[in-house]
Symmetry: C2
Subunit: 209 residues, 2 copies
């Protein structure tokens, strides 16, 4: 019987993954739930409760094998799929995401760049051609595009997502400050950059009391 992993645990997996990778880079092979808890600011009980879903990786009283646990989390997160991203909107944010170094390290590839601006279409960014977004339906299967990264302005975002879905992309990562609607079978993650800032605001306000 397959256990259902709670959403809160799923939400913490990228955090576990990043931390385990960092620990591995330092040459450490085994990590205890206490140490992992200290690094992640979680209780050791929470760590053990989260990781119980991933089978027997712990060694009673000793800890977890860093590489084995990282590989298992990678599998759960689907990172071994090597998803290919289409950046839609080559403004400052689109450029920043197209050259974000960590994506490649995590196994995400920039598959194609798109814009509708005639002065950008046909030019190159980071040695990659910027395609006319109107042609995404032709380009998507050739470039095996999986995920549309929507960086266009709010008022164009829904139309851009609809077109990308129509072209066969199965994932939408939305940076436009508007809630998008997607049909069944399409995965959507809405990114809101004000969230991190709100957390920071909360902490600053608490301190200034």
């Amino acid at each position: 019987m397959k256990k259902i992993i709670p959403q809160a645990t799923i939400n913490r997996l990228p955090l576990y993954h990043r931390t385990l990778k960092q620990v591995a880079q330092l040459g450490q092979n085994i990590i205890s739930s206490n140490e992992l808890g200290r690094l992640l600011e979680l209780t050791p009980e929470q760590i053990r409760k989260d990781l119980i879903f991933f089978g027997q990786f712990g060694m009673k009283g000793l800890g977890y094998y860093v590489d084995e646990l990282a590989a298992h989390i990678e599998k759960i997160l689907g990172l071994q799929h090597h998803w290919r991203l289409a950046i839609i909107g080559m403004n400052d944010l689109g450029k920043a995401l197209a050259s974000y170094p960590d994506f490649l390290e995590m196994g995400f590839y920039i598959g194609a760049l798109f814009d509708t601006d005639k002065s950008l279409v046909g030019t190159e960014f980071n040695n990659m051609r910027i395609y006319n977004f109107s042609n995404i339906k032709n380009i998507a299967p050739r470039k095996l595009l999986d995920i549309a990264v929507i960086t266009v302005p709010a008022e164009e975002a829904q139309r851009a997502a609809d077109r990308a879905i129509d072209a066969g992309l199965k994932g939408i990562w939305n940076f436009a400050p508007i809630k998008l609607e997607v049909p069944m079978g399409i995965s959507l993650v809405e990114e809101d950059l004000t969230f991190g800032l709100s957390t920071l605001s909360y902490r600053l306000a608490q301190r200034s009391k």
Copy 2:
């Protein structure tokens, strides 16, 4: 006696805040925990449990006053402080953040732009001058800067944060893919753009099973 608000509830406050603002914009004055739950994909029980920390905003059986609850959450999050951001690193990401429309709407102001690149210093972006980062100690008190937004490469990020803290900034919002160390009394939020992408990867992998 003051109740201690759990971290998980704090983490959800920006989400509540955004949703309440959207609901208010549609002219709705009262919202039930059922409806809020549907919008936020949380159970009504979770909503009531979260919002009990904010005093008596509910009307038994009816719901919450949208504006009153939004204003209260704003206060808890410290959004009425009108924090002033310094963007440190005017690359694509710095530019994207300097012109992100939602920050102003949330009460965050772009206070000053900084770079060390001589070809950028003295030029303008969005009608704002780009200052030499070496001068942040002089500029910070004049511009009342609160939060340093670190968009420089990983290898320069710690030094940039140290300098901003030395110049009196109390908050660090770090986009560089490296964990920073800050002294006591300084608030740090690390932004990792791979997290949203990992969540999307997870959902795509689940669907393709």
